[in-house]
Symmetry: C2
Subunit: 318 residues, 2 copies
Amino acid sequence: MITVLAGGVGAARFLQGLLQVHPFSDVTIISNVGDDTELFGLHVSPDIDAVLYHLAGLADEERGFGVRDDTFHTLDALSRFGYDTWFRLGDRDLATCLTRTHLLRRGLTLAEATAEVARALAVPAAIIPATNDRLRTKIRTDAGLLDFQEFFVKRRAADPVREIIFDGADSARPADGVLEAIASADAVLVTPSNPLISIAPILAVPGLRDALRDTRAKVVAVSPIVGGAAIKGPAARMLRDQGLEASAATVARLYADFLDAIVIDSVDADLAPRIEAADPHSGRQGMAVTVTDTIMSSMERKAALARATLRAAGVSTS
Amino acid sequence: MITVLAGGVGAARFLQGLLQVHPFSDVTIISNVGDDTELFGLHVSPDIDAVLYHLAGLADEERGFGVRDDTFHTLDALSRFGYDTWFRLGDRDLATCLTRTHLLRRGLTLAEATAEVARALAVPAAIIPATNDRLRTKIRTDAGLLDFQEFFVKRRAADPVREIIFDGADSARPADGVLEAIASADAVLVTPSNPLISIAPILAVPGLRDALRDTRAKVVAVSPIVGGAAIKGPAARMLRDQGLEASAATVARLYADFLDAIVIDSVDADLAPRIEAADPHSGRQGMAVTVTDTIMSSMERKAALARATLRAAGVSTS
């Protein structure tokens, strides 16, 4: 059994590769919900849906979210009713959100609703939100405390990030099966997602981080930072905003308390000794490093990255 | 002040004509809600929206409901999630339903939500649902008791109608302003809508029928039955299913307790004496009859019908 901590598009691409080399019936995906939002009264789960659409072969891979060849007729009509439409929810994407919202209103948990949606989209893996409770990432900027999507989409993540808050995390409970999936896994993989806003909200759910520290499985992350830049999105700049170096070494350090190994890109090979060495200052143990090509520019490269990551976790692959 | 009891498309067409000859700031429309339904968790008000779309110039006049040139991408995607899609809710139409549902969930009444939607669509008339409470038309057929839209849309109104039930009517209260609009009107007009399923659910709200009997305004209906057939829809057959003659005389009789005059089509001129005469059997008084062309095949004819109806109600027109 492989358990994967997943953000949005980076996770989705990594999982596409994993699907090539590992039977998906053995994979449990634990998804970030910190960027969930409410639009027009609908519950929108962008990270869950990014993963589902990619695995269902429906994703708009260029935009990085939503459904390929989607149209925006409902959204455009909604603008007439005074709604903001900077979150470009397409007509087909809306069907997913309507379904999820309808299921939630009928009393299903987010995990149950997600399972229904995944089944309808014929996605074979188990995908579980980190929590069924309300957990919302908020970003403190010089313009005030912003809802995540307002910061990320409306303002294009342009504001310097002063603080990242996971509203509701303190009282959130892990969804059924989350802690078990970590405890009983043969390997736990952390996808190449923004550590501050895609993975951290998962880790903020009480019990998650302890489960990662305690599991007997190897925990392996893939660095989303390559050569000092994020593969996609504002991760590098956000790390610097926090006074951190934008590097795979920082990613390793952020996960140091539970990580056994990290996969970094060949361009960052010189970082390996620093990561492998123990840090006497913090008392941190060193960790194993796999150096490989991490740019997921084709299905072959995605599969190769998944294979290297599984190998680092001690799992044999096909 | 003119108050109009309105069903769906027949009402919408009549109101288009009224808009040509009377200032809409003086018109209050009381709408049927018996055919409201829930689809995908959304509150759909087909009659209210038929009127709004026609008055906003957005209506798909050929289909008789929905928005012109609408697309069905969300609906088609919803079929993947196991939803029935025989109710062809278009993408733009969906925006209206999303907005209404969102407003209802935020605690607004249906009347308040309707006012917001009308304002956004720049419809200048006041349109009030007959009730804010849940009132649903159900049709007893040999296939069982059907929700109205299942009977009307899914099964194309093909089943013989054994009984028509207005579920919830007993405990429904008139929406704010409904009784006042009838009591204080200079004229009350009943649109050429199906008397059994478009107007009867309005009359079923406790207090409505008494208000119509008691108002000092003249109450004038336009017959939707012309030459023994309905202008549109199954009204004629439904009347026969109830053991009634499909004629303007029956319409007059169904409204006899509150109607002062009826407008019938020229082809039915021979019915006028029967309607004008008192009915010693039932004790019914005779009523005034206006005979004119009632087929609303052009804007000119719609306006002429509105003018004739207002004249029958004693209102001078421009």
